[in-house]
Symmetry: C2
Subunit: 321 residues, 2 copies
């Protein structure tokens, strides 16, 4: 089997057929239908071996994460994910690697009803670009810019686990086997909060996903909303593993400044808090109020004792916009 | 200026503001509006240094071509290009390179009214993925699959020039300075035939862009249309440079089997030929009838003497789908 056939075989195995795909893979471009009264929502993220994941990362974890980070972006917009394209370069078309990549990718694509509608592959260093299109009712997509003083700040799931996963992968953190397997899954297989984002349409005043860490990402909301915020560290949702490490030597830093958790951070006007609680109740995703938007610019973290805490390294910096 | 600011500065300089961009760069995703009664048309292509262009290629030529190849795909669909996203990895964020890349990219984006609405950048080997969205009236996008026996086959512009450009770049072809500059421009700055594609909506029965060469690309039309074709070599549109080389030693091979010309190849039912001629008349793009679709499977090239010619190497092979 030549390389053309190999690629085609793996990437044409999407189980998902969507009625809004007029024409999928196989022409110069895909033809798709955005529902009436909806806007198109488009995001893209790339992953580079040695930068976003260690060179020895399993292919299925790469395939999974390449789609997951894009799903997370659409979740933060409150959009319904629909169609993906993939750009993939790799040193050689190797059946085992491709099969693993596709296993991870399509596992998640099928779960979220995403159809693969196009892509490009070529020889080169391992680099993956995924572009994801979705849609939201016109005017209802969530943005970073709508937070107002007095709005409550919420975070889904737990923060800091992906950072522990990376420390463990680098051999810098001793954990039990169960703990290790939990934090590695949080790092390699984050759960995009698509259902949460969708439920927040019309209720949240701003939203973002936690890819660069709470401080940096909430910072984007504050910048675009021309506002400040206070966060109560004691309110941050932590996993049992993180809580245990917190009491040893770890402190709050990783939960505040490290990314890759792909949880949602969102703000809610007081009048909508009850509705948000109801809307998220059936989703089996934890969410917690961690602070409030304030009119004074800046992001302030308060410890359990009410003392202002500083986190010098508050952003993930590989010149990513 | 830090790397974040550098990237933002260069990529936010798109002059084009489109009224259908509800929200552009700067949030988790872009929000866009496809016009009523239109379908979304989506394509993506990646370029890798050392594979798609020599490592010493000027940054502006890379920026130009990265968008041009995607515009060419939308041209082949008869779609109106609208919104692009860019994934860019490079060893370091270097102002001079970025400025050059953006010069080339935005020159073409502005010409075709394309807005840059998102992207991702990171450190890594030079790899560029561009994804381009456009739209076409519902049901009117061109495909590869509609060619019927008896349809005429047309090609725009000239074929084989990009191949000469590459030979010249590799030092394998002696040309005058004027000739060299012409074929290098054809290689590095192809003109996407967007206007032609748009004019062919409702008239052409099938279309494709010539990225892999006439033999391979027309082959895709034949495969998807379950048909065959005959091409008269003497009818192929050649530039004066190619014609001169043809008479020396070059032969037809490069015009038939080499890609990168980004012209359109399209088929037209006899009843529509007059309308196509009228529709393309005002576009200042040459187009020529080069053959006809036949019911007998296979692609046959005939020489000036009516002899069947074989072209063994009829496709560009870097496992590209």
């Amino acid at each position: 089997m030549d390389e053309f056939s190999l690629i085609r075989r793996f990437f044409s195995r999407s189980k998902k057929s969507r009625t809004d795909v007029t024409l999928g893979i196989g022409d110069d471009a895909a033809i798709l239908r955005v529902p009436d009264e909806h806007e198109l929502v488009v995001t893209t993220d790339m992953l580079v071996a040695g930068v976003h994941f260690p060179n020895d990362t399993a292919a299925d974890a790469i395939g999974y994460k390449a789609l997951a980070v894009n799903l997370s972006d659409l979740a933060a917009m409150g959009a319904d994910p629909a169609w993906a394209t993939v750009n993939l370069s790799m040193p050689q078309a190797e059946a085992e690697w491709l099969e693993g990549f596709c296993n991870g990718f399509f596992e998640l694509a099928d779960e979220f009803g995403v159809a693969l509608v196009g892509g490009d592959t070529c020889r080169g260093p391992v680099t993956i670009g995924v572009q994801l299109c979705g849609f939201a009712p016109t005017g209802k997509a969530l943005r970073r810019s709508g937070a107002k003083p007095g709005d409550a700040i919420y975070v889904t799931g737990t923060v800091g686990d992906a950072a522990l996963g990376l420390l463990h992968a680098e051999g810098k953190l001793q954990l039990t086997q169960a703990q290790a397997s939990y934090v590695r899954a949080r790092l390699e297989r984050p759960t995009p909060r698509v259902g949460v984002g969708r439920a927040l349409r019309g209720l949240a005043s701003a939203a973002i996903d936690l890819s660069d860490g709470l401080a940096a990402d909430l910072g984007h909301i504050l910048e675009q909303s021309n506002a400040g915020a206070r966060i109560e560290l004691a309110a941050l949702p932590l996993s049992p593993v993180y809580s245990e490490q917190l009491q040893k030597t770890l402190g709050w830093d990783l939960a505040v400044t490290n990314g890759d958790d792909y949880e949602l951070c969102f703000t809610v006007p007081p009048i909508q808090e009850q509705r948000v609680t109801s809307a998220l109740a059936g989703l089996a995703v934890d969410f917690r109020r961690v602070g409030a938007i304030e009119s004074e610019p800046g992001l302030r973290f308060y410890g359990v004792d009410g003392v202002l805490c500083e986190f010098p390294d508050s952003g993930f910096n590989h010149f990513q916009g």
